[in-house]
């Protein structure tokens, strides 16, 4: 639209647009474009975001599509730009073009969870897939033993997104370190549907009886997998790992159904992200580097009761 495009050149750097965009912080308007409007883990991020907004007196909008959809997210970002929001937080599913649109309009963008390469975002702040992979490797070797060849099956929410592939590739790379031999025998999709996740795991264990490592890269997949493993009574033979720390997942870890889950601070995806943008707009501060790990940790029986503080540490700029 004409307005924003004409605004773009003059207000290219966030710092310079703080004064023009009427200093009093309470007028600030942040938009959080999440990949899923109401998904349990992202609701943790919402919690953090809302928290930060109330603390800073920012008016924050939490938006997102009903089911995963890059177009929808792109649309929402364009809407935010049209609304002349002061800052946008979003996630790696969004294609580059709309983000460029925002940055050109002088709106600082902070990317969480998974990165959007080659757009000049203020910062990326999220899960480091390599750390995640390493954590998984260590845990798996601990349970299955270093000398046992690993046959692994992975379940992701949906395979047609870059993130899924980054995570899988990272895992493959990390597990090369497992000298006894490693193979990804099967990859399945949960389509964010716990029922589908369940049936997929049932079939996987039937089709590939020799699978001894089950990695779930979608929040709902972990519990589903654990249930199947329990039903089939192959608990001690197969190591099961999930991601994120929703209630059921944690319970299963306590009960031993899940051997562990890789969690990042979704809370900080909201809380810290909002703070960084606020500090950037009001004080012109920028993070030292673009890529930041949000603190990726492995939760197991041992630390399940006391991990949470580890995820709530807030780093100021």
């Amino acid at each position: 639209s004409p307005a924003s495009s004409s605004a773009a050149p003059s207000e290219s750097t966030p710092a310079s647009d703080a004064p023009t965009e009427s200093a009093p912080a309470k007028d600030l308007h942040f938009v959080y474009v999440s990949p899923l409007l109401a998904h349990p883990v992202w609701l943790l991020a919402k919690e953090g975001f809302d928290q930060a907004c109330t603390e800073l007196g920012i008016q924050g909008d939490w938006v997102g599509p009903q089911n995963i959809s890059p177009e929808e997210m792109a649309k929402l970002i364009e809407t935010a730009v049209a609304q002349k929001a002061d800052a946008i937080i979003t996630q790696g599913l969004v294609p580059a073009a709309p983000v460029k649109l925002a940055t050109e309009a002088g709106i600082p963008v902070l990317v969480v969870d998974s990165d959007i390469p080659d757009v000049d975002r203020l910062a990326f702040f999220g899960k480091d897939v390599d750390i995640q992979a390493k954590l998984l490797l260590d845990a798996a070797e601990e349970k299955l033993g270093k000398d046992k060849p690993i046959k692994c099956s992975i379940q992701v929410a949906a395979l047609n997104y870059q993130i899924a592939h980054d995570q899988i590739d990272a895992i493959k790379k990390a597990f090369e370190a497992h000298t006894a031999g490693f193979e990804v025998v099967n990859i399945t999709e949960s389509k964010s549907d716990k029922m589908k996740a369940t049936t997929e795991w049932q079939n996987t264990f039937k089709a590939y009886p020799d699978v001894n490592l089950a990695i779930n890269l979608a929040a709902e997949a972990g519990p589903a997998c654990a249930k199947v493993v329990e039903e089939m009574g192959i608990g001690e033979k197969v190591a099961v790992y999930g991601v994120d720390d929703v209630e059921e997942t944690l319970d299963l870890i306590r009960k031993g159904g899940l051997d562990g889950t890789v969690a990042t601070s979704f809370y900080n995806y909201g809380y810290q992200a909002a703070y960084w943008l606020y500090q950037n707009i009001t004080e012109g501060k920028k993070p030292k580097m673009i890529l930041n790990d949000a603190g990726t940790i492995m939760i197991t029986k041992d630390n399940v009761e006391n991990y949470s503080d580890a995820l709530k540490v807030k780093v100021d700029l």
Binding site: N67, D193, K194, Y208
Partner: protein, 335 residues
């Protein structure tokens, strides 16, 4: 003498076969058998009782609703809201349980929600004469909305063992949900084939005007089919949450398509007036086998969609092919 007898036998067998082929369900039955054979060849595990029970069980969750959907489709209608209703049913029951209401009542509550929603659907469709597609699409959003308002997006967890039981229960190794589903299908079949209500449904789909003028209460009938369907969807939802051990806010997304597709693959006409529950049941089973088989046949995820699509079309093409054959033969037969 004896070979006369033999001939009799042969001919009677032949006639039986004729009769079977003539039956409209036969083609989907054949398709299913054929496909199952193929899958078994690729991976014998498929035919293992363990796996078949799995297939049956997962089919159960669909079949329950397919029965109702078939009713609706035969009246010439459509219901897109079943997916959300499924979720809602599960959630309501789940919350009721957590609120300490005894399981039985909680279940009743969930089912009643279904009744209510079905009633609203039917009411708007009948009274306002709005296309079912829009009404039920609206309801899809509304029901899903209720779910997220109630759950705030967080799954209802944990559920009391009492609830989980209804899914784990088995009667001679057959999971509860399968028994319930088949029972519902049986009742549905009897209703449709032998009860005035069923006749009304067919008449409605075939020619609403004529049905009305013949003194059939078309409005009530329409109403009923929507109520029945939503109720069944809610029931399916309760079973599903019992199976998953948690009532998911996102449960049943895309469920409506599976259900409708199952019914239609089973020979229910999209234009109304034709089809049978037997067909629909087998259709639902076929769909389940299809999705179940892919991983078993070790087909890469990337190819699965392609395969599903092709097989779907082939399955219906078979039906077409059969009809042609019959036509040809019947014309020959008379020469």
């Amino acid at each position: 003498m004896s070979n006369q007898l033999q001939e009799k036998k042969k001919s009677s067998l032949e006639s039986k076969f004729r009769w079977f082929i003539q039956k409209q369900e036969s083609s989907i039955i054949l398709a299913t058998i054929l496909y199952m054979a193929v899958v078994t060849c690729v991976n014998p595990v498929f035919i293992s009782s363990g796996n078949l029970f799995n297939v049956l069980k997962t089919m159960g969750y669909t079949l329950i609703t397919v029965v109702g959907m078939s009713f609706i489709l035969i009246t010439g209608g459509l219901d897109l809201s079943v997916g959300s209703v499924l979720a809602l049913g599960g959630v309501i029951t789940g919350m009721a349980c957590k609120a300490g209401i005894p399981v039985a009542f909680a279940i009743l509550l969930g089912v009643l929600t279904g009744v209510l929603i079905g009633f609203i659907n039917g009411f708007i469709i009948v009274k306002a004469g709005i296309p079912p597609l829009i009404v039920t699409l609206g309801m899809q959003y509304v029901a899903r909305g209720l779910v997220s308002v109630l759950t705030q997006g967080v799954p209802i967890y944990p559920l009391p063992d009492g609830l989980m039981k209804i899914d784990q229960l088995k009667i001679l190794h057959i999971p509860m949900v399968v028994i319930v589903a088949l029972a519902i299908a049986a009742i549905g079949h009897i209703l449709l084939a032998y009860a005035p209500f069923g006749r009304a449904i067919y008449a409605l789909g075939g020619n609403e005007e004529a049905a009305r003028i013949s003194g059939i209460n078309t409005r009530l009938t329409k109403m009923m089919v929507y109520v029945i369907t939503s109720t069944l969807a809610a029931l399916a939802g309760i079973f599903m949450s019992a199976r998953l051990g948690s009532a998911e806010a996102a449960a049943g997304t895309g469920y409506e398509l599976t259900v409708i597709c199952g019914a239609i693959i089973g020979g229910i006409s999209t234009f109304g007036g034709m089809g049978s529950i037997v067909g629909a049941t087998i259709g639902a089973f076929f769909m389940e086998v299809l999705t179940n088989s892919l991983t078993l046949m070790r087909i890469s995820v990337y190819w699965q969609n392609l395969v599903v699509g092709v097989i779907l079309v082939l399955a219906v093409l078979l039906d077409q092919y059969k009809r042609n054959i019959i036509l040809k033969n019947s014309i020959k037969a008379k020469d």
